[in-house]
Symmetry: C2
Amino acid sequence: MGRQGILLVFSGPSGVGKGSICRALIKENPTIHLSVSATTRLPRSGEVHGVDYYFLDNNSFKKMIEEDELLEWAEVYGHFYGTPRRFLQEALDRGNDVILEIDIQGALQVKDRFPMAVLIFVVPPSRLALESRLRARGTDTREEIEKRLRCTEREIKMAWRYDYIVINDQLTRTLDTVRAIITAEKARPQRSQCLVRDLLR
Amino acid sequence: MGRQGILLVFSGPSGVGKGSICRALIKENPTIHLSVSATTRLPRSGEVHGVDYYFLDNNSFKKMIEEDELLEWAEVYGHFYGTPRRFLQEALDRGNDVILEIDIQGALQVKDRFPMAVLIFVVPPSRLALESRLRARGTDTREEIEKRLRCTEREIKMAWRYDYIVINDQLTRTLDTVRAIITAEKARPQRSQCLVRDLLR
């Protein structure tokens, strides 16, 4: 049928569990691809170049911007982050769904360029739950955690501009909701053009 | 939380199986209500007043129009059909989802008045499948079947204006898709206002 894949864009406060959701989706369905972002921030312990991020220096990142190789990019907490365009476009054209885990600024830029992108905002069941998760993760200093929490309120207000808001309380339930969103989105008229053309033949 | 129910509006060619889908949904989830339409057509064998339709005479129907008691109404194949407003609104306000099985004209009128209504267009897997089902149903004369089939092409072209297009090939798979649509729609930002308000508190 030549159906295009769905571009699923996940955002939400740091520590809300976006990474676990995306990893679980890819694990259960290998036809879903994860878009790897480029960044100028330093790798955290265990992060691998080309898997978690493309870790670039400032000059390489600027070159990608200049050559329009980034679908979107932004500066967050003093570091650059961006989405390489080519991999993503090729996967969608092959009919693979693609997951993109990016911040709100980036997600809204992607929606402008790909109006068919499906934007999912992940929220914690409560503020307290989010704070505990950030502390348990142990990857941020206390100052960074405070900074992230102050940012959360502003971020949650932007959730209105997303297509869906999903509460990440229990991962299994969250995954049920995300799977339902994927199934529902495949039944959108804009994605059923071949089907309707066949019926009218 | 005081969440409003979802208004699910099903349309599609005669014989496509909308009735079976709606009955199955209600059977598996008794909190979903079926909106009973009013009509001036005569009952088919086995149809019950107040269950399948409110069977009204022309004068009673016109009185409902005049008193603005119908959410939408239309004339189809020489008969009047309409959706009584009160029952539907009360059920949605109580948080119950409501199913409405109506024709395209009616569905689009409902969407104008209830922009949050979810419009689902059910299509057959093929033209041939639809023709066989209409004949097997045995409720229409040959002329009526021909008339309905000629109507189908025009109807399917209107499917673009719906929120979802669902192929009714196997009922179990169709129901999976409809359940996914309901789950996804509950995660729409417009339906998560209480949730976000709580998070920002």
